[in-house]
């Protein structure tokens, strides 16, 4: 395979298909509609299931149904549509079925606009629906990374029988970049034994999130919490750049994260010792590594396309050991390298003084 110029939305859709996606259900919403459009042709060509639902409420419940039947399934959406899916996401986690959802974040709240944003961080990592749970949240920063993360998302969803959210933004969805698609994989030959496929020759399966007795429901919750602990122990992913000698650590994910690689390059040119920690999993959050780094750097700058959401996780982990400054843009504005660089220089100067 060679590198091609690929649009983020089409890249993740095609990648999902090549990683064995068997059923896609979705509803159009900018800035991710190209994914649905792409799959409307490709899934049918490949003899798989594609359906445009009447709403995101319907779409996520179609996905829920297909996941209970044991097939590899997903949907993709953005802001308002993601809000509508929250109920379904909670049922999916409570029923312990594997599902992948792509949320191409856009400016909010409300109808907001269709420009890139990272303002759904809390909603995805802390409170993706009612009840006690966290989904696994992956944060790609490039077209190549979202391609690769689709494969990872299915693997994690199926390994832990849980919900995986791929948290992109309008920038990742709309941009074209040189990237390489995976080869076509065959779809799975058999369904997992827990799936509802008709009880021919076996005991029947029941998939439910209803546990009327509080003791039973608490038992389920303990099991879910144990699963979350396993995920925290095994699935943290992040990328680091030049942290070894860094005085100042940039912390940013997704589009803000890749912008910070440019900031870092410029700062280094000016002789400033800047490093970058870019979480690739937002939940589980790279807590241990961040705590370690907080012992070795003098200050941190968190950059987000929001009012400061991941910032709260950084503050929680760093516990005041070093000063943390925040650079955020809202409303669908992408922060520019020069404005972040200004903060970097002033932070380094204050720390030196």
């Amino acid at each position: 395979m060679t590198k091609q110029l690929l649009k983020g939305n089409i890249a993740f859709a095609e990648a999902a298909l090549r990683y064995g996606l068997e059923a896609y259900f979705g509803y159009p919403i900018t800035p991710q509609s190209e994914a649905l459009e792409h799959l409307s042709g490709r899934m049918i060509e490949e003899g798989r299931v594609f359906l445009q639902a009447e709403s995101e409420v319907a779409a996520i419940n179609m996905v829920y149904g297909a996941a209970c039947a044991g097939v590899r399934t997903m949907t993709s959406t953005s802001g308002p549509g993601y809000s509508l899916m929250a109920e379904g996401l909670s049922y999916i986690v409570g029923s312990e079925v594997p599902v992948v959802v792509v949320n191409m974040m856009r400016g909010g709240p409300g109808l907001g606009n269709i420009q890139p944003s990272q303002a759904d961080y809390f909603f995805m990592t802390k409170s993706a629906g009612h009840g006690d749970f966290h989904p696994i949240v992956l944060a790609p920063a490039s077209v190549q990374e979202i391609i690769d993360m689709m494969g990872l998302a299915f693997t994690l969803a199926e390994t832990y029988r849980t919900l995986v959210i791929v948290a992109g933004d309008g920038c990742i969805g709309q941009m074209m970049e040189s990237a390489e698609l995976p080869p076509m994989a065959a779809t799975r030959q058999s369904r997992p034994e827990w799936a509802i496929t008709g009880a021919r020759g076996r005991d029947r399966n029941i998939i439910t999130s209803l546990y009327l007795g509080p003791e039973n429901l608490e038992r389920l919750n303990h099991r879910l919490q144990a699963k979350l602990a396993r995920i925290q122990a095994n699935e943290i992913r992040y990328q680091e750049m030049q942290v070894d000698d860094a005085d100042l650590l940039l912390v940013a994910y997704g589009t803000a994260g890749r912008i910070c690689t440019s900031v870092l390059r410029e700062a280094r040119k000016q002789g400033l010792r800047v490093g970058l920690l870019r979480p690739q999993t937002l939940w589980p959050f790279p807590e241990e590594r961040l705590a370690e780094l907080s012992q070795q750097v003098r200050s941190m700058l968190v950059v987000e396309m929001s009012a400061g959401q991941m910032l709260e996780d950084v503050q929680r982990v760093v516990q005041g050991r070093v000063p943390i400054r925040f650079h955020g843009r809202m409303g669908g504005i992408i922060p520019m390298v020069d404005e972040i660089l200004d903060d970097v220089t002033s932070l380094v100067q204050t720390a030196a003084a």
Partner: protein, 268 residues
């Protein structure tokens, strides 16, 4: 808002009688709609009706999510912007606490017939004192031309690249026929804004639908067949022709329900 300038006064000699004036309820701003889009025509009809009924200061509009999301830029009345499909629910809330005001929703086919199906059917069935103007252009305009619930069989859209296959994607839905079945609806009609005669009839229907509300009779909805030249990939004129040839056959122009009380109102 800027003062309205009456072009007519400056340039037209007094001996002429004005037969065409700019509606008071329509703002004088340039449009964001594509060339040849029918939304603009229907906006104007709504504005004319509001003027003729003298209700500009007592009317509240509920905008959809769809190309008409910015209806409030053009219709000079109090306005709110609803979540996608929820306009009838939001309008219900507004009307229940403002019973003396005239409340209308203006919705596209994706908004009303896909994501908002439950809200419109229940508002109609409750007989909410609301007026709904429903633009059926057989496509999702705003998001780039995906299949709508009203997309005709075989029609190519960005999410039915080889044409709508009804066995897989479902059949186009006839909303007016469904709404007419609800007990609370007093007036349900389908008109078209594809030619002059159709536009005239559409205006009468919209007026009737507002009058039904003003007289406290029940829920009223006017579906208007329209075009989306941009996403149909047709020139505006061919789009009108295409719609007349193809949409009319599946979506008959008809008054599906009109109670005697509504009939008695006339449209004056």
């Amino acid at each position: 808002m800027a003062e309205k300038t009456t072009v007519a006064a400056a340039t037209i000699p007094e001996i002429y009688e004005p037969v065409y004036t700019y509606p008071d309820s329509l703002t004088e701003v340039s449009t964001h709609y594509c060339p040849g889009c029918v939304h603009g025509i229907v906006h104007r009809l709504v504005a004319e009706v509001i003027d003729e009924l003298g209700i500009r200061e007592d009317t509240i509009g509920v905008a959809p999510v769809g190309c008409a999301v910015l209806a409030y830029n053009y219709l000079d009345v109090d306005f709110v912007e609803a979540a996608h499909g929820r306009a009838p629910a939001m309008a219900t809330g507004i009307k229940r606490v403002n019973p003396d005001k005239v409340v209308f929703t203006y919705q596209g086919d994706g908004d009303l017939a896909a994501i908002g199906t439950a809200e419109i059917i229940h508002a109609a069935n409750r007989g909410e004192l609301l007026t709904t103007v429903f633009i059926n252009n057989a496509i999702y305009g705003m998001t780039g031309g995906q299949m709508a619930p009203t997309t005709l069989s075989g029609m190519v859209t960005t999410s039915t690249p080889t044409g709508r296959d009804c066995l897989l994607a479902g059949y186009p839905v006839r909303m007016s026929e469904i709404l007419a079945q609800t007990a609370g609806a007093v007036y349900v009609a389908r008109e078209s804004a594809l030619d002059i005669a159709g536009i005239r009839r559409t205006k009468q229907a919209i007026k009737r639908a507002f009058l039904a509300q003003i007289h406290g009779l029940g829920f009223a909805c006017v579906e208007v067949l329209a075009t989306c030249p941009t996403n149909w990939n047709l020139e505006p004129w061919s789009a009108l022709e295409w719609a007349k040839e193809n949409m009319g056959a599946f979506f008959p122009l008809q008054t599906f329900k009109m109670t005697d009380e509504v009939k008695a109102l006339g449209t004056r």
